[in-house]
Amino acid sequence: MSVEALSKAVNLLAFAELGLTILLIVRTSLEGQVRVFGLQSFVLALLSMLIALYSGSIELFGVGVALVVVKGVMIPRVLNRAVANIGLVRVAAPYLGTAPALIICGLLTIIAFYVMTPIAASNPLPTADAIPLAFAGVLIGFFIMVNRRRAVTQILGFLMLENGIFLLALLSTYGVPFIVEMGVFLDVLVAVLIMEVFVYRIKDNFDSIDVGELEKLKE
């Protein structure tokens, strides 16, 4: 594979990543949102395997496989189970509607390019051009967490933020060492399992999964 071909493929896949993050804002059903996240994880795994083949790194290929297993299959299953178990609950609207949210996504992407372009320019790797796209994904994941009031969507925002960070590390360094990446996956998996428990507890206690109801603690 030539350097140009890799660079083009990486740009395309990183762009698809960002597109899927934004798609989460447009989707309103929880099942649809979980599917979007699963798909994003698969694209991410594809990207890391592609870079692994190019750079000849077996470790990175292993990371890609683990990514499919943990974020492509296991975590979406956990989330689907949570969505099925909470059943039909009162749907809380996001603080900002779709149109303003999309405008904010655009602004965040501009900010990402502004902050990260100098960093990307100093990076000799052929994947570096897409670094701002990855950072835009991080910022938008963060925005989704703040904007959505449903606990499950907040968790998805967090996971997309995580995916963005993984992509950022992948593009700028071909991924951090294997042992670190495995530890990170373990942490994320445990975090999602704990979050699932909290979704149930919030539903039992407040009869809704609108985290806007969590406002007793002040001062």
């Binding site: 100093s122 590390a169 670190v180």
Partner: protein
Amino acid sequence: MILLSLLSIPLAAAGLIALTRRRALTELLHLLAALATLGTGAAVVAQVWNGAVLTAAGDLLRVDALSAFMVAIIAFLGAIASLYAVGYIRAEFDGEHLFRARLFFSLFHLFVFTMLVAVTTDNLGVMWIAIEGTTLATVFLVNLHQTRSSLEAAYKYLMLSSVGIALAFIGTALMYYAGAAKAGEIAVNWSALRAAAGSLNPEVVRLAFVFIVVGYGTKAGLAPMHTWLPDAHSEAPAPISALMSGVLLNVGLYAMMRFKAVVDAAVGQEFTARLLIGAGLLSLLVAAVFLVRQRNYKRMLAYSSVEHIGIICLGLGFGGHWGTFGALFHVVNHALSKSMLFILSGNILIKYHSAEIREVRGLLHAAPWTGGLFLAGTFALIGLPPFAPFISEFIIFRAGLESHPWAAAAGVILLVIVFGGMLASVNRMLYGEPPADLPRGDTLRVWLAPLAANFALLLVLGLTLPSPFVAALVQVLRVLGV
């Protein structure tokens, strides 16, 4: 070898306690593990004190003076909190709640384990994993009482800490990139990164440190990322509040100190100084606003932690020999005094069944030991002599007046506001007429005995500043390159 046992004792204890069925056995295992952790911790610290740098498991674990400093705090205060925890859990979760008692003790040791890994590893990625692990280990502890407010606190804590720490991962990855791109070989180990600091790309290093301050600053409770802290620290059971406020916040600071040492060597001190002084002053301001007329004494203690973390950041930002010395000294002092006060707050809660300041009347009369120690701890916390925080705050602001006079002056004014606010609140609790139906005498009086150690240390460090202690801190300064 000793390093591996230091880590495996609490991990094994967490697993074994989860398997126990009888309360007596749970408590016995818990106490044995706590004392064993203290003993091995002391052995590790002693070896490092004699000039050794311990390594184990390849280059994964490495304990220098800074790590040993943190091991000492974790092991010592872990032991104090675990002794009190036995009495506290007996009082709060009696026979029927055996499951939750077991969960508490098991997670307690898992929590200690994650903190110990975070401070003994040389690998910045593993440090990150361990610090995220501290959140995961404590989140069910915050929700242990299973009230609505503790649920809210735990959920916020989990989400905000996870996002914060995710940002710290960007900083870690950028630092790794700065090291990998310049140092020739890939360096995610702190010692390698520190050695190669001079050749790192300054632009990447600066950006990395911004993410580190925001990310680990969230775990350390720096404003404006502190919003989870008053909720989580006030809702957690007292022994856990003591460890979260007195120890865990310092683990976040520890991570920042590690990165600061690299960044200072790469781009000079002024950059980190500006960030840390800004965050420190903002934390002091937020704490001052919420400490005046605070209505809940556990939240009062939590906001006071935001204040003290701010003071420590000011010390690190003022920098130089004395600024950093004062910051490290203040880490010790805050850990000793805040863990003591949170443990006492557990006693007050059990006695008065309320965390509201206006419900607590005549504490000195109704529970003389609890009240007396609470008064002494408050004096220490607000910086009155003869207690040690007075000395460390004096050193920090003395250093600040020389390097950053305006910031130091603003800090002193905010300290005075905090002083007045906290003293007024505690005053209302200590005096007055206790409720007529309240039985006299301290609850859990025997279990307060370990606090004698905190009290004595605060007094001794404040009165004499022993030379072995100073020499130990100077060793830490050398690791930080100050």
